[in-house]
């Protein structure tokens, strides 16, 4: 049986503030910090936060996400970013060359159903979201399959400095892209093994000794 990290529930007292920064998933009342979520608390000298164990993706500026083009408009594309909020990809943020919009059908660049790895370039207070391909890592993803996991578990799937994801990539000979919105794109040899490993991490993300179990699953 694996060892489990502490789980807090909404309204549970975490700690006194003691001059620390408030992270995500917590609120303050008086001098005491309470949790907003069912999640795993992270307490250190500088910051207190709670990482929720479930929930949908809410867009944050600068996040790198995987989106699916779901509509072609006059001056850009509507992109589904696995969130309650739809994102817009304007043509200026997507194409480098000059496009004569009166004459060109812009679906030649991106069409409905295309998968894009992009960056959230603008998120307003009212959650109007704009995405951009102006990023070194942004690209269109061809072929492959996508799976969806709980967005808050993506850091655990990537691991410390990418250790977990590169382990899966090497062992299954797959190309894997992870979006911070919980969408993962996989293409390569042993896709089934890669998916199994990722879903195991998602299910057991709050347990100790996860790396060893994934290693044995992948047959290291």
């Amino acid at each position: 049986m694996a060892e489990y990290r502490d789980v807090v529930i909404p309204g549970e007292k975490i700690d006194g503030r003691k001059g620390r920064k408030l992270g995500n998933g917590v609120y303050q009342e008086g001098e005491i910090i309470f949790s907003k979520f069912v999640g795993v608390p992270r307490i250190d000298e500088n910051e207190i936060s709670v990482i929720p164990l479930s929930g949908v993706y809410l867009p944050n500026m600068g996040d790198k996400v995987i989106g699916i083009v779901e509509g072609v408009e006059i001056s850009g594309w509507l992109v589904d970013i696995n969130s309650p909020y739809a994102a817009f990809l304007p043509i200026a943020e997507a194409v480098d060359e000059f496009v004569d919009m009166a004459r060109t059908d812009i679906s030649r660049y991106f069409d409905v159903g295309d998968i894009v790895f992009c960056r959230l370039s603008k998120v307003t207070k009212n959650k109007t979201v704009q995405v951009s391909m102006r990023d070194p890592s942004a690209r269109k993803l061809y072929g492959g399959i996508i799976i969806k996991v709980t967005p808050t578990k993506i850091p655990r799937i990537i691991g410390k400095a990418g250790s977990m994801i590169s382990l899966i990539k090497n062992k299954t000979k797959c190309d894997i892209y992870t979006g911070q919105n919980g969408v993962i794109w996989i293409r390569g040899e042993d896709k089934a093994k890669a998916i199994e490993a990722i879903l195991t991490i998602e299910k057991e993300s709050h347990t100790m000794g996860l790396t060893e179990r994934i290693e044995s699953l992948l047959g290291v």
């Binding site: 529930i9 309204g11 069912v38 929720p52 949908v56 309650p84 909020y85 009212n126 959650k127 808050t152």
Partner: protein
């Protein structure tokens, strides 16, 4: 005109003491397609609650630019009661949906979700008194399981007066023949009351006494909610 006494030798018709809750069972994530769900049983009364969202809200005129909204639907299944209930919303379920929404609304950080909605559905599949408080308990668990940011859980129970005795957690028969009954919900950590409805006649002294025992019962229910949430995420 009553056929039988509801209190005999200090015990109620189902053998409980006045301050005793029924057998309570809670289960998390029973609805696979929902973001979060829960099943709560108070004796025979069974409520299944599911929370969908936060999700996009249409038609657009319903959207609020600064905040999200909470929508609750309380519904009793036609087979949940002895005489078939005609399906669909009616005056009673519309009202209960509203009071549940008002009981849960203050705990949720709705301002984190501008323009979108959180939808909660509470289905009563077996009704034996105190259905609205069972639905509140189930929805509160379902909201927490769906990862909705909340100030606190909501615990809820009913209290009332039968045959001149003040009791906790009324069942169907007691509910129908009670002198007074009161639905009660609170945020246990904050000690704030978020739902209080009363039907019947009580003196001020009785109301104060019932509030006290309702608070104590809610704390017991809250302990169970904590346990079910923590056990679920510790892996069965």
């Amino acid at each position: 005109m009553k056929e039988e006494k509801l209190m005999v030798d200090g015990k109620r018709i189902d053998g409980r003491l006045p301050e005793q809750l029924r057998d309570i069972k809670m289960k998390l994530n029973v609805v696979t397609r929902a973001n979060g769900s829960a099943e709560v049983k108070f004796g025979k009364t069974t409520a299944i609650a599911s929370v969908h969202g936060p999700r996009a809200l249409f038609p657009r005129y319903l959207q609020e630019s600064g905040t999200g909204i909470l929508r609750i639907r309380y519904n009793m299944a036609p087979f949940s009661v002895n005489d078939r209930k005609s399906p669909g919303p009616d005056r009673r379920s519309t009202e209960i949906s509203k009071v549940i929404r008002l009981a849960l609304g203050p705990t949720i950080f709705l301002e984190d979700f501008p323009k979108i909605t959180i939808d909660g559905f509470a289905e009563i599949i077996e009704a034996d008194g105190s259905t609205r408080v069972t639905a509140i308990n189930a929805l509160s668990l379902a909201l927490a399981a769906a990862g909705i940011p909340m100030e606190d859980l909501v615990a809820s129970c009913s209290v009332g007066k039968i045959d001149g005795t003040l009791v906790v957690d009324l069942n169907g028969k007691e509910d129908n023949n009670s002198e007074a009954d009161m639905a009660f919900a609170m945020l246990p950590n904050k000690g704030v009351i978020s739902l209080l409805q009363m039907d019947g006649a009580l003196t001020k002294k009785e109301v104060l006494k019932l509030l006290q025992s309702a608070k104590e019962s809610c704390m017991k229910i809250y302990e169970m909610q904590i346990k079910v949430l923590k056990d679920f995420y510790k892996g069965e």
